[in-house]
């Protein structure tokens, strides 16, 4: 057996991807490439297709047409990718048991569980709540637990779907701090938000989508200073896009 680095899931490439449910077109011909580096933030109004795009890139749904590749391969199981849903599901177990479950699902040997779980809980700021039933946590705590669960598999790419929607500023800051730390460790973060302040704080790149299409994709500084399209200018200015 030869030793080689495991195949990388990056870059993630979308080639003219469409996705629809019956007559409803949700993603209408998107081409996009995500490379390692600073967080990529998806912005756009509600219903623009952010969540569906994340699910396509995670591999949870298949495009109606076009294709998604991970490191040049199609149909790669999500072993090195993780996603935190906007409303994450808490397993009916304790906080610590949720983490242990994620570690086991990631195929990590039992002898490592205790130590890894301790690290993950610490990172998510949940050490004091380890024995609580997960479903009794507050919204912000549940998001942090879902983040810790996602990190349990030591992912290469971490998708976050509006992780701070409906959280107060303190809870939002706690999440953003974890996201920054994760990104600094070299994990590619891809997150959606409709909070422009959050996009400014975290993004390396911005992908602006509207009505299932990529309107603009650019480094964050450039996007916010000089949006190229009229829609993006209006969105950045805080106008309502419908």
């Amino acid at each position: 057996m030869t030793m080689r680095a495991p195949d990388s899931d990056l870059p993630i490439v979308l080639e003219d991807v469409r996705y629809g449910v019956r007559d409803l077109i949700i993603i209408d011909g998107m081409s996009l490439m995500l490379t390692p580096g600073a967080p990529t933030v998806l912005i756009g109004p509600n219903g623009s297709g952010k969540t569906t795009l994340l699910r396509l890139m995670m591999g949870l749904i298949e495009p109606t047409s076009g294709r998604v590749t991970w490191g040049g391969r199609t149909h790669v199981p999500p072993a090195r990718r993780a996603i935190v849903f906007q409303r994450p599901v808490m397993l009916r177990r304790s906080v610590a048991a949720n983490i242990h479950y994620a570690l086991a699902a990631a195929g990590i040997g039992r002898h490592q569980h205790a130590e890894r779980a301790r690290d993950l809980l610490e990172q998510a700021g949940l050490s004091a709540l380890a024995e609580r039933p997960a479903r009794r946590l507050s919204g912000g705590e549940q998001q942090r637990l879902a983040l810790a669960r996602g990190l349990a598999r030591d992912p290469q790419v971490l998708f976050l779907d509006e992780p701070t929607a409906s959280l107060d500023p303190a809870a939002t800051k706690a999440i953003e701090d974890v996201v920054r730390a994760v990104s600094a460790r070299g994990i590619k973060v891809v997150m959606s938000t409709h909070d422009l302040g959050e996009a400014r704080r975290l993004a390396g790149d911005i992908v602006f989508i509207h009505r299932g299409r990529v309107i603009e994709s650019a480094p964050a500084a450039e996007f916010f200073a000089h949006p190229k399209t009229d829609d993006a200018r209006r969105f950045v200015a805080g106008e309502l896009l419908v």
């Binding site: 199981p77 999500p78 849903f85 808490m90 009916r92 304790s94 699902a105 990631a106 039933p133």
Partner: protein, 235 residues
Amino acid sequence: MQEKLMHADTSALDLVLSADPALMEIVRLSLLVSLGAVVAAAVIGFPLGAVIALTRYPGREASIVVLNALMGLPPVVVGLAVYLLLSRSGPLGTWGLLFTPAAMVIAQTILVTPIIAALARQTIEDLWTEYREELAAMNVGPIGRVATLLWDARFSLLTALLAGFGRAAAEVGAVIIVGGNIDGFTRTMTTAIALETSKGDLPLAIGLGMVLIAIVIIVNALAWGVRRAGERLAG
């Protein structure tokens, strides 16, 4: 009449409190038969419920309606069907099981299996709707998914077992037909109450009635406790 009833009450209490051997034997057999039926029904009903909850096949909706309807099977009809199966000239007559506790377990298993399967199906399906994407994202395989659902539904599934036991312990129609109410062999609390009441031996009937109600209350208290424990431990 008034006096006779009063007298029946006190002697009934005496029978219970003195743990009268005949009464205890009837209670013991009743519990064994009903427990045996619940165990058998769980072995059949849980996997059946899980399969219906997690697979898609033509006629699935209809099978769910039928399963739910079977929860209300009339015990006497089940008793009659099992009687026909096990009677000497019936297809399983050679087994020689009619009028034995085994026949009673079979009949009660048929009564209890739909209850356990239908409740398990509902519980597992609801949980699956909630968990499906999260488990897919965690790359959990089919066996792991089923194990996760069963474990996380454990408190509700335990409640289903207790509901099944309550049904089995309280029914009379099926066991009286296939068991035959033979003294010391197939006489259960419910069949004994039916017989003793018609004979006019009220103390034993009332005593058994008290024990039966106590058991039903204990089972429901357990179900309640399980539910509360589930809320506390799993949220």
